[in-house]
């Protein structure tokens, strides 16, 4: 009867056309999610037959997808996203989409790092994966990201690791700072996805997370309205681009701490480092090169020097490569 059915129905009065996404863990119960509009159309005098075509299988397995793209070194950059929120797009499908985009970009390249990608159910999947692979991950993973909520065109954000200071936090923040006018720097207390496991005490992998509008922060979250009206091709492409820039920072920096092999400022002209034609930007370029060189004392990574000089990592790398061509590094 209607009275028996109602306690098992889930709807949102204040979002009447949204079907909520409700989960129940560790307890054998059932229910249906529907929009409040549909709920109101139910005939209170009808008799309802409930059919749930599902079963509890004590011999079930937990499957996940995993891909390793080997590089020159066994050290790995690790990407994770999750596959357990059927139908929803920003908080789910966007993550695997961007992850696959990164893998696609890297798959036929001669990469310095090895790249590992996993697609798992959130929480239980990452815990399972960690329980099987922790020693390997702790030994080889040098950076990486949990990818989630990367499809809409609204906010940008960084969900950092527990102390907010690992290399992936720093790379992520640098890339956001130099590309996005305004982004939200969350704290560890704002976390909510698999960084909870990857950065747990004793796990402490150097993982961070760059998001668009973060889980919980948008009205369509965990409803049927988290769909392709919200997530766009442009939003996904922007997120992919930001993550690819992070990948490039890892690839190009390789933890190098450049050290100049001359005392005092080198003469740029006779080494071909001085621009031949004076343009509007040439003074700034020389300035940035001299600034860069002034921090090449062997104690700073290229990313750190970029921060000191207030220039993007990619401008730094351009400078680094020119200086290297001139044989000015030890």
């Amino acid at each position: 009867s209607y009275e028996d059915l109602v306690p098992n129905l889930y709807y949102l009065k204040n979002q009447p056309n949204a079907i909520p996404y409700i989960t129940s863990y560790y307890e054998k119960k059932w229910g249906f999610c529907l929009s409040y509009n549909d709920f109101r159309k139910l005939n209170k005098n009808s008799t309802y037959k409930v059919l749930i075509d599902s079963e509890f299988d004590s011999n079930g397995v937990l499957n996940y997808g995993e891909l390793l793209i080997p590089g020159k070194t066994k050290e790995e950059i690790f990407f994770s996203s999750y596959i357990c929120h059927p139908q929803m797009v920003n908080n789910e499908l966007s993550g695997p989409s961007v992850l696959v985009g990164i893998a696609d970009y890297l798959k036929n390249k001669n990469n310095y790092y090895s790249y590992r990608f996993v697609l798992i159910p959130e929480t239980i999947g990452s815990i399972t994966y960690l329980s099987k692979n922790l020693d390997h991950l702790k030994k080889y993973v040098k950076g990486g990201y949990n990818i989630t909520c990367v499809g809409d065109e609204r906010d940008w954000g960084l969900v950092p690791s527990r102390h907010g200071e690992n290399i992936s936090d720093k790379v992520g923040e640098h890339i956001l700072k130099h590309n996005i006018k305004k982004y939200t720097k969350y704290s560890w207390l704002d976390r909510g996805s698999d960084e909870r496991q990857y950065c747990a005490p004793g796990i402490d992998l150097p993982i961070s997370s760059i998001t668009r509008t973060k889980y919980g922060n948008y009205p369509e979250y965990h409803t049927s309205l988290d769909n392709f009206d919200l997530v766009t091709k442009k939003g996904l492409e922007q997120s992919l681009e930001i993550y690819l820039q992070c990948v490039k920072v890892f690839e190009l920096s390789k933890n190098i701490k450049p050290k100049i092999n001359v005392f005092c400022e080198p003469q740029l002209g006779k080494r071909g480092l001085y621009p031949n034609t004076s343009t509007k930007n040439s003074a700034a370029k020389i300035r940035n090169m001299m600034n860069f060189i002034s921090y090449c004392d062997g104690n700073n990574t290229i990313l750190e020097i970029s921060e000191f000089c207030n220039i993007s990592f990619f401008e730094s790398i351009d400078i680094y490569q020119k200086i290297e061509s001139a044989n000015l590094f030890r």
Copy 2:
């Protein structure tokens, strides 16, 4: 004659009904303090006979009160207040009153720490006490407070140690922050009581000081107006409560640095840590527990974790004890 008397009279023209409190050290002189109103009533033509019933005794002694309440450990929490400002209440009697209140609270309990209480004349008394007990104090004192000006209902303040970073400073600031809307964080340069000795170079005991309106900061200071109009039962009780909270932080934290014994986030439900009934606050409670656990890496005290999680120490302890009951700590 009046002319002989006047240079030895002390009064306050701008507080005409207040008798000032004037002291003279290390010089044999005499004088009387009186209100300006009384001073004006003196007959200029009278002859005055001066009687001071006091003596300089080269065999005198410096007495002080001392109480030790032994605990499970020989490590001590140390409380000091002073007894040398006769008649005045906020700047004097309030201190011994609250100190006795703390001792009274602790005396019949099974305490973890031993508690030492001293009542001494300010400066000369604390120096004397230190000269007799320095080695013991440096070895055993793990925290404590100099208690002064704790009776009025106006301001609150923390007078920190020289570098403002000892455990008593941190405990005091945490308790003030979580209980008092607005308090004054003084600097070491604002000190003025026996923390001057307890935190002197080479002494460096981990002592701090929580005050109500601080010495020197209120108009009645060092006058007969520092009386029971100013100091109230409520003011004293509030101060006692704050100091007892500090005591509880020491008792409960014991310098433990909790370390979780599972990898990744533990499942709360099967360990009885998940609230059975969902209330308005249950989501926040779970959140705080997960935050707390995420910092249990063996490097942080419970007080430090409380600061990381933006929750009170007592909420942390509640969480800590629940997790301990579930055997989740190493």
Copy 3:
């Protein structure tokens, strides 16, 4: 002809009465600088004869001036200024003037430090000097300044070393803070004179730079308008005074870290440290002395204690000497 001449003429359209200062390095070219007003007076139909009485001498030498005033220790304070911008006053002549003023002040004194002064062409001169003397300088130089743009009466500024934390940066900032209401704290990225070499990676001498209106920051810079209308006796004297104060800080502090030899606050009266007559400032003086003593734990230099106590180094030294006279230091 006029057409042949014009490409080799340099003038400033927006400063029509200023003759610009233009240099060309590492390329054999010629030219004349003149005011735009003079340029406009040139007869376009005249024939011009160009005479440059100069030569490229492959056996040329690079000369520089150097003066050492020996002190009690072989440790040196190093001053450098440059002599390669003929005619200009703030950006050039002011530097050697103040440098000579410092040397003049020190030459007949019994100084603690040895003082080394060099006058060199900028960049190429400092590099040459460093290439000949680096080992000695790295061993003995304990502080110093590159002196430039110290003659006008407008701005004040500090151009710090690469990390902005060497002793000369700190001395310079302390002296500016206590003497100048408003000064500009530049960053290493704003550098532009020989600190570029003295603080280069691998050189890392403890050099800083105090300037008036800095090179590049004033409209007359690198023109004939950088003259004695801009630079005044008063401006030069003020700069000399500031540098002499820095010298005095080095002379008086000698890297001493005072350590009091009594436990607790010493009694000032019986040691003659308590002012006999009470004046308006005597309470503050006692307070500052007690504050100073409270930091004499053997870990802080006199300059650091001055910063802790918010008093000038010279007030600290006055206190230090009084305490020393009373035999209160270890």
